[in-house]
Amino acid sequence: MHVYLPIAELSVNWFTLLVVGSGVGFLSGLFGVGGGFLMTPLLIFLGVPAPVAVGTGAAQILASSVSGVLAHWRRQNVDVQMGLALAAGGFVGSALGIWIFTLLRQAGQVDLVIRLCFVIFLGSVGGLMLVESVRTWFRRATTGVRKRKLHEHYWLHGLPFKLRFRRSKLYISALLPLTVGFAIGILTAIMGVGGGFILVPAMIYILGMPTQMVVGTSLFQTLFVAANVTILQSVTNQTVDVMLALLLIVGGVVGAQFGTRFGARLRGEQLRILLALLVLGVGLKLAFDLFTTPDDFYSLAPEGQG
């Protein structure tokens, strides 16, 4: 039942990989996120070297975003124009991210930076989401649905190069999606995550996009950035394991379908509370590991690698 992973250079039970893949897939389908933030730490936990976990994660994210985009495309929930603007920023960002990743690997700090990024982003996003969703839940219980203005104007709307995004009914500066995409691109390269858990809040709160367009468009941009990262990681670091990716993908796509179906039965803020708890839990676990005294103070690496 074991399969030898040619790039990770270790032998793993393929059934374990299918279970991990479908488990993460289920959660990603349930919450409408890519699941990379769970996949990368899980792979590291299974003994896959961190660089390989990150590189392979990109390929797995690509597959899950393809199947996700197709589903949203049919429901016309993809703002192609916005997605391309985000992806353009993402391309540049991910190239920069790969460069940073290679430098970190040479300095022997890639493991630490991956973990720190996870702790910071999972912690803050999870915390914000928990506060917001709990508040919504209580508000619904007391005063019913809050009325919101269509647009709130502040300094971000004074930026130049304004563009009209028809699908999202927005008239905003092109710099906004470019910058957001750029930042997410860096994260995708360094953390091996699609960035959905950061991109989705950013699109709602910074860009002001309508909620029903957000997930499809986010997946659409992830598709391009993940493809870019896959090829860049292959060329620069040789850390994409197709064998590992394939097993995770097979488990993941099946799990995602069940997750989506199950998720349709839950209320929006209930889902967000659960997701927030999950994100926080993973973040806390990683933070805990950073502070606990390691079993062995020493670690090995082949020369020139992290």
């Binding site: 040619p6 393809v66 996700g68 896959t230 090829i231 292959s234 990716a245 796509v253 090995l300």
Partner: protein, 249 residues
């Protein structure tokens, strides 16, 4: 691959005949296989060493994996977080070290002899390549390297057993874990009498990725752009197939 007894017996027969013909050679030894193939289902391999001596004596078998420059890093606390701090490079750190002896090793050879022939994990020559980097904390880094390799099952913690069949025929078995590095391994068979190494026979053992995993690895390293494109195509196709397949249900 693991059932090597028929080969073993037939080679023993040949060795016996040879041994009678050429009594001059004090030690004849060989391996059950000279190639360990890492295929898609590889979970480790057993290699069997066997041979004959020209009389009583002790036999020590040492298997050394191809050396690879390895960095050992020590973690230290920085603002409460454990961070990699000092590092030391070992230029020729073996990726595998296995040992088997016919008697407890300290009864066979004295420490200076063990050092000389680099027999046993504590006696391998492990030093940073440039002398100015030789600080006084080398022993700690060296031990850490050995400990990490032992944790992965790549360095022997206890010597294995060389079994004698009668007075002259011997065999030893050694397990290579699934994590072994590829490359040319060196198998040394030492014949020891009265605390001195009488003779050494060295045989190469090739550990190599074969078939699908070899192709994948080679493509990833030699033609990495093409590999990346292939990875994208596979991932996209898999995602697409899933979307189409589940639409019907």
């Amino acid at each position: 691959m693991r059932s090597s007894s028929p080969i073993f017996l037939s080679v023993i027969a040949i060795l016996l005949v040879q041994g009678m013909a050429a009594r001059a050679q004090p030690l004849v030894a060989d391996l059950s296989q000279h190639l360990v193939a890492i295929t898609a289902g590889f979970t480790g391999a057993d290699i069997v060493m066997f041979g004959a001596t020209d009389g009583p004596g002790d036999v020590v078998v040492v298997v050394t994996g191809p050396p690879k420059p390895t960095i050992v890093r020590r973690k230290g606390r920085l603002a409460g977080i454990w961070v990699n701090r000092e590092a030391m490079l070992f230029a020729d750190a073996p990726t595998f070290y296995g040992i088997a002896t016919s008697k407890p090793i300290d009864e066979v050879l004295a420490a200076n002899q063990l050092d000389r022939h680099q027999i046993g994990v504590d006696h391998i020559r492990l030093l940073p390549p440039n002398p100015e980097a030789r600080r006084d904390d080398i022993p700690e880094f060296r031990q850490a390297l050995v400990r990490a390799r032992q944790r992965d099952g790549l360095f022997a913690t206890e010597p294995g057993k060389v079994t004698f069949l009668g007075e002259r025929l011997f065999r030893a078995r050694m397990a290579l874990p699934a994590k072994v590095a590829t490359g040319t391994y060196r198998v040394q068979v030492f014949l020891v009498r009265e605390g001195q190494v009488v003779t050494v026979q060295t045989t190469p053992l090739l550990v190599s990725k074969i078939g699908f995993s070899a192709d994948v690895f080679d493509l990833a390293h030699q033609d990495s752009a093409l590999y990346g494109l292939a990875a994208i195509l596979i991932a996209t196709a898999a995602g697409w197939t899933a979307a189409v397949a589940f639409r019907r249900i």
